[in-house]
């Protein structure tokens, strides 16, 4: 369905360059979906990117790969969306407190881990494991929205915390707190949804 939408916007006799751009559509969509959890927003960002790329192909110098060039355009489209949704979502003190409490609950009163974190074994083997990948994506979806937004800006879009702070108008401390929460929440979720299950 998504590619039908795209195809309608492309002249029926697509040039080889337009075809090459279109061929990156699946990659770009994947990238956008990791960053924007709203599927409609992700599709919008990719569609805008493909159209901008086809219109602006003359500006593609060929110095970087086509994928890199397209990803650069997509990043701007994604950031526009993120700014919009960050503005719409007012900071909620109760949500923030609940998230902080969930993190505190991972530690005992003396500040040490409550449980023994599991040995996840060989990282390459885990990455190849389809159950790990499925659990990882599930856990990513479950992250609270604000931490998820900062985490994926950092890890998917490779932005520095300085850039993230500037885009979202937050302080570096705030940014580090959310990244810490996101990582701890993800690892806890993987312990429960992947590692526990794989031991059975």
């Amino acid at each position: 369905m998504f590619f039908n939408i795209i195809l309608h916007n492309i002249p029926s006799k697509a040039s080889p360059q337009a075809q090459a751009i279109e061929a990156e559509g699946a990659y770009l969509l994947r990238y956008a979906q990791l960053q924007l959890r709203n599927p409609a927003q992700a599709e919008d960002a990719v569609q805008e990117t493909l159209l901008a790329a086809i219109e602006g192909i003359a500006r593609f110098s060929g110095k970087s790969s086509l994928r890199t060039w397209l990803t650069g355009i997509l990043k701007h489209k994604i950031i526009d969306q993120l700014r919009r949704s960050a503005r719409e979502q007012a900071f909620d003190v109760d949500d923030d407190r609940a998230e902080a409490e969930a993190i505190d609950a991972l530690f005992a009163g003396d500040g040490h881990w409550r449980g023994m974190p599991s040995d996840w074994g060989n990282p390459d083997a885990a990455l190849e494991n389809s159950r790990f990948r499925a659990a990882f994506e599930l856990c990513l979806q479950r992250l609270p929205e604000r931490s998820a937004r900062v985490f994926t800006m950092r890890e998917v879009m490779d932005m520095s915390t300085g850039e993230i702070c500037q885009e979202l108008q937050i302080t570096p401390t705030n940014c580090w707190v959310m990244l810490h929460r996101a990582r701890l929440t993800l690892r806890e979720c993987l312990e429960l949804n992947w590692f526990d299950g794989s031991r059975r």
Partner: protein
């Protein structure tokens, strides 16, 4: 001065986002030396980063 696992986890996380100062690095190294739980978490953090990049780049 013994740092807690919570503090160590903050340093491990921030170590992925900025260069830690010399005191922070020392605190973290000493904690990891004595704490098996945090050594595991450090490996898990590494896997999280690799996993999200793999999700992004495979298609």
């Amino acid at each position: 001065m013994m740092s807690t696992c919570k503090h160590a986890s903050e340093l491990m996380s921030q170590g992925q986002d900025r260069t830690l100062g010399p005191v922070e690095r020392l605190q973290l190294r000493l904690h990891l030396l004595i704490c098996k739980r945090c050594r595991r978490v450090e490996q898990q953090f590494g896997l999280l980063r690799a996993a999200i990049r793999r999700c992004r780049d495979d298609s």
